[in-house]
């Protein structure tokens, strides 16, 4: 399993991926799932991938040289000459379809799905930073002001904190912290997601030189998040009052509702008596 998350903020883009792959629970390996494509001053693109490793590796290899013929363009489009992130997402989609054409039938014959999903984000000179989620069919969706982040892989454990914190106004450093908390929750709840983490931080309109960092268990900032978030969450939890009950066991304030409501739930003694 994999967990990758990326956010598009007014201040730029942040990408975070784990590096664990598994083939069954007893075969765990480390593979990097992030890749940066950069031509400083012109474009800076980051790609995160989840799914079948052989497929995502083949797509990344193919993408480097893939040229998509478009009847509206004089020369075939590549990630290096496309003039928008939208067209770069189309090139990626086309590379996925190329790999699908080569691999899908043989995989299907062995009962293996063509399973891959990708996060593609970056900026091309002339437009703002953009972020896409690309599906295994090669189609894609783009992050907006309302939904400014995407997740792929083991996404659910880490979603609540993103929903509560991230907006387009979130500063880059705070978004980094938020993504690391989201990853820390995922690491705690799912063993098939693992260190080291790859973190890419792209400042809007820099068109190059993103911060690219590999965080392992010795990284002091990840250690800070990892050791602080649990106790802080615990403090937040403790700061909420426990429910209090009235003396009458069945008229339990503040939780109680009308008696007929909880009668609807109750079964008493006789198995033939049904009150639902």
């Amino acid at each position: 399993m994999t967990y990758c998350v990326a956010a598009r903020l007014n201040a730029g883009l942040v990408f975070l991926s784990d590096s664990r792959t598994n083939a069954g629970i007893d075969q765990i390996s480390t593979f990097r799932k992030a890749m940066v494509y950069e031509n400083p001053g012109d474009r800076c693109i980051t790609l995160l991938s989840a799914g079948n490793l052989s497929i995502s590796q083949a797509i990344r290899e193919t993408l480097q040289t893939h040229a998509m013929v478009d009847p509206d363009e004089e020369i075939p489009l590549t990630i290096w000459n496309a003039r928008s992130m939208f067209d770069i997402a189309r090139v990626l989609g086309s590379a996925i379809r190329e790999v699908h054409r080569r691999e899908a039938k043989a995989l299907r014959d062995q009962g293996v799905d063509f399973n891959v999903s990708m996060l593609l984000g970056g900026q091309v000179a002339g437009e703002g930073p953009r972020l896409f989620q690309v599906y295994s069919a090669g189609n894609f969706i783009e992050a907006t002001a309302e939904t400014c982040y995407f997740q792929i892989g083991e996404s659910k454990y880490g979603k609540p904190v993103l929903d509560r914190i991230l907006t387009p106004q979130t500063p880059l450093d705070e978004a980094v912290k938020c993504l690391l908390v989201s990853m820390d929750s995922t690491l705690k709840s799912n063993l098939s997601v693992g260190l080291p983490l790859d973190l890419v931080i792209y400042e809007a309109h820099s068109l190059g030189n993103p911060r690219i960092l590999c965080l392992d268990e010795h990284n002091p900032y990840f250690q800070l998040v990892h050791t602080t978030w649990g106790p802080r969450l615990r403090e937040a939890f403790d700061a909420i009052d426990n429910p209090r009950w009235s003396a009458d066991a069945h008229d339990a304030t503040p939780l109680s509702q009308a008696p007929e409501k909880y009668k609807a739930l109750r079964k008493i003694t006789s198995p033939s008596q049904r009150v639902e």
Copy 2:
């Protein structure tokens, strides 16, 4: 979708379920998913269910009168005469298999899985409180000191807080708060889980009279949890320092690692140059 969670603590048992069912995203209804079977002084049992509603309703109906023939027992076992929670779990498993025998083939012919999962907990006089997760094949597992809670349905969003808070030593009221926070996170992240909630609180060795409560959006304690948890989480988040960067953009402390590590990630300009 459904979210149900139950915990077995030294102090007793707590059960919480939502009440939303859906047949596709455009057909949402409210059905209660909790049921209490009680013979005060002798036994008190709670059952939560998730999965195909027609199956779980058929199982609950069947369970009320189901008698399991056991060659070791003089009379057939029912939930009302079995002498242990283990045997009651076997009776439930047997009822599930009975419904499977009646329904599974016709469902399969229509492409519908026999999909149901249940949480069964309670106490029978003569032993302590016990909690089981019962699968659609009628087999089951029991909660232990190491893993003192079970979830069924949409479980992932609400798991991190359970992992961080719940132990067998957790008091009942604090466990109620923890399950409500877990539910609140799930409600926020998945629209197919919805109010009202059914809450059952069973005090160890009481053998009856559990607190049974239906919480809707007007319940003051659920409102307290709902309106407090988000801001408290936000405060906990804010209390962690943001990462700080050194002046040198690429030697980013405290996040940086050895340069060769992040070289492994980087692609520069030429599409044919591959350094992974």
